[in-house]
């Protein structure tokens, strides 16, 4: 695996820090007139998503993290693991609940996801930015009430609950922005 000097810690470089994989979000070189040079970086933990600031001596070297993003298709879940397939090699692998996190709320099958692998093990699953899902349960709405802007909760076919306008009914299909979990529009069946 690659090693990086502190001067090579540019945005997007992935390194191992205290045993965890991190990606560099921002970095700068600092040096007092006659003294020790440092690289001051903001790094994001790829397992927890937490961003921290870390300073390195300019002479240090860092072990690169073997992190790879792969386009994979979501197939099915047994409730504990979620199975994805590489559409070109047909290789399959399973992601656990931690790697799935919020992604489970938007998947029903056959979506093209980005699976981030660390040493070949799924670290994180990123769903497409938009999902189209059917409402399976919502309280009856007020017909014609499109002006007040009120919302109500609706349960979707994947189990996700989102806020929808009052006039939406069971059986309708919605477009959801998976990054924010917000309703975008109604999709004509």
């Amino acid at each position: 695996m690659a090693t990086y000097g502190s001067n090579d810690l540019r945005v997007g470089v992935k390194i191992i820090l205290n045993g965890d994989p991190y990606t560099v979000v921002d970095s700068d070189f600092v040096k007092p007139g006659k003294g020790q040079a440092f690289t001051r970086a903001r790094v994001r933990n790829l397992k927890t998503g937490r961003t921290i600031e870390q300073t390195f001596k300019s002479t240090e070297t860092h072990e690169g993290a073997d992190v790879e993003d792969r386009d994979m298709e979501y197939l099915y879940t047994d409730g504990e693991n979620w199975t994805f397939m590489d559409s070109s090699s047909f290789e399959q692998l399973e992601a656990g609940a931690t790697a799935m996190a919020d992604a489970v709320k938007w998947l029903k099958g056959n979506e093209k996801c980005v699976v981030t692998l660390w040493n070949g093990v799924p670290l994180q699953v990123t769903t497409p930015n938009f999902a189209e899902l059917k409402i399976t349960q919502t309280d009856p709405g007020v017909r014609g009430d499109t002006a007040t802007g009120g919302t109500k909760p609706a349960t979707l076919e994947t189990g996700a609950v989102v806020k929808v306008p009052l006039y939406m009914e069971e059986g309708e299909i919605l477009k959801i922005d998976t990054r924010t979990g917000e309703y975008v529009s109604r999709v004509k069946a």
């Binding site: 006659k34 003294g35 870390q54 300073t55």
Partner: protein, 306 residues
Amino acid sequence: MNLAALHERASLNQQVRVFFAERKVLEVETPALSQAGNTDPFIDSFSVNTPQGLRYLHTSPEYPMKRLLVEGAGDIYQLCKVWRRDESGKRHNPEFTMLEWYRLGFTWQQLMHEVADLLHILIPHLQKPPRFCSYREAFLETVQLDPHLATEAELSACAQAHGIGFSGDMPVQAWRDLLLTHCVEPHFPTDQLTFLYHYPATQSALATVQQVDGQAVAERFEVYLGAVELGNGYQEQTDSAQNRLILVQDANTRGHDIPVDERFLAALEDGLPECAGVALGIDRILMCRMQLDDLKQVIAFSWEVA
């Protein structure tokens, strides 16, 4: 490329030359490629293969300018490109422009005032008079410890208490550097110059060292605008034996990868006149003049695209 910066740079250079012409300081040029390089442990030179052997791009024109002082050149200045390996960031470009000058018979205090006079011309929005602050005072004010007395454990605990993410061991001076860059410098006011002086003697380079309040301190200053360091000035060490000692020690620390500049040391034996000298980073000054925050905005073609 920022066209406005090209115009600002040209007018800044002109102001520099007018400033020194009025004060009868002579503009000089010295070689950019030398047979000996800078042995400073924290500054790395680029080397160039030539038919006559390895030569080094200068990291500052200090040594040949001091040779000119020994030859009797009098007050001199130089505006030139210098090179430092592996220094790249928002405020660093491996190739940059330096303004360096030497004043015979000046004390470092007089030189600080001359630096302030020039910087107030080059950065016209500076209104407030400069602030003068010792290294010790600056640390006491911002991190509540005495940098000269604090132990390695105290300095590292202080860094941790201030939320600096750093792991590993370092010598005392490196911990001071860490606190200086992360905690002290960010407190410097952005609307006036700060002159920081009386650095620990370990940071003296070729400046004279004095005992002040029981501590050996370097008669050296750095000038800042906000947290941006603009320059570095010295009461120049004229004792040739002392100069040799420092260069040889530095070369030992480095593992002799850079030859000691024997021509410089030989010249000093003929007697360097009492003087104070300073080097300013022109690109950073231009950045402050234009109120920008990234050096790339004032360099025609930065390192990445040069």
